[in-house]
Symmetry: C2
Subunit: 185 residues, 2 copies
């Protein structure tokens, strides 16, 4: 990859996202980010855009949400010279955890964080591939509060603004960065 | 993180790995890598050691295995200026896939890769947190063969040599890098 390549813009990332109708079920337009990941320039550029409000040293840890969030969050942690902290679905983390419930379309699910995942007062950012209703992101924020972390930003590649999650997180006073928007507004 | 910090050695990574007895079930000594991830210096150094045989430009894509493998593989992709390709548990990838079965202690499971995940002849490396019997790694190698990728290396943070997976992959003529060994030899 020659260093003279220009950095991608959000529009380049948007063009690479593939729409998959009716996945995982009828009526859902699934946003497939794997073509962004497979392209070294787009993947790296996407992480740069996602974290452009932060400089190395400003963030102690990047929190990634199981499982696609791990990809973007781990990449961001390397770029920001930060640690990486997983928020996982219930039952996956082996040590003592805090646990939060969040709502699904039908029913609820649970996510966990290790009790010792962050040190008190550490600056963290939450990274995920997509924000819709914000259920898992909200649960992650609550988990980080309980673990003692200070959330200084939330970064999502894709925003579905019709579902209101990003606005709800902004209403908490949190900085939210999104790169690509589908539907709405 | 001051630049004068020395790079970690495999022994530093080994010391940070936490043993969790009887997880996820009685008799299993689970190797918890989250303390490595949470430490910016260890996480970054771990990726450098894992990929030290490769230079940016030598690898087109880093293949990560669902879900902990995503963390190390995405970080390696950024360091090597490569793309990232996920191998996922069945039903998670939205586009057309190749599928491979692998054996569990009791029964079998399936992993998938998108049919267009790599271009024919691309150089790829497979990255995961741990190799035990090598079941998922083998399935990933078969998937990459079907997708047309050329696997130039397999990198695992932890090797459990008693279970033979790393040796079986070496017997295929593949370069295998592991950083930390538990049990055996």
């Amino acid at each position: 990859m020659p260093l003279t390549q220009t950095a991608p813009a959000p529009a380049d990332i948007e063009r690479a996202i593939r729409n998959i109708p009716d996945f995982p079920k009828a009526g859902i337009q699934f946003k497939d980010i794997t073509p962004v990941l497979a392209d070294a320039r787009l993947f790296s550029g996407c992480i740069d855009l996602l974290t452009e409000h932060f400089k190395p040293g400003m963030v102690d840890a990047v929190v990634g949400i199981d499982a696609r969030g791990f990809i973007f969050a781990a990449a961001a942690a390397i770029k920001l010279q930060a640690g990486f902290v997983p928020v996982r679905k219930k039952g996956k983390l082996p040590y003592q955890t805090h646990e939060e419930e969040y709502e699904l379309e039908y029913g609820t699910d649970r996510v966990e964080i290790h009790e010792d995942a962050v040190r008190k007062g550490e600056n963290v950012i939450v990274v995920d591939d997509l924000i819709a209703t914000g259920g898992t992101a909200f649960a992650a924020l609550k988990l980080l509060e309980r673990a003692g972390g200070r959330v200084v930003g939330c970064c999502f590649v894709i925003d579905l603004p019709d579902l209101g999650g990003a606005d709800k997180i902004r209403a908490l006073g949190k900085e939210v960065t999104t790169l690509v928007t589908f539907g709405g507004h």
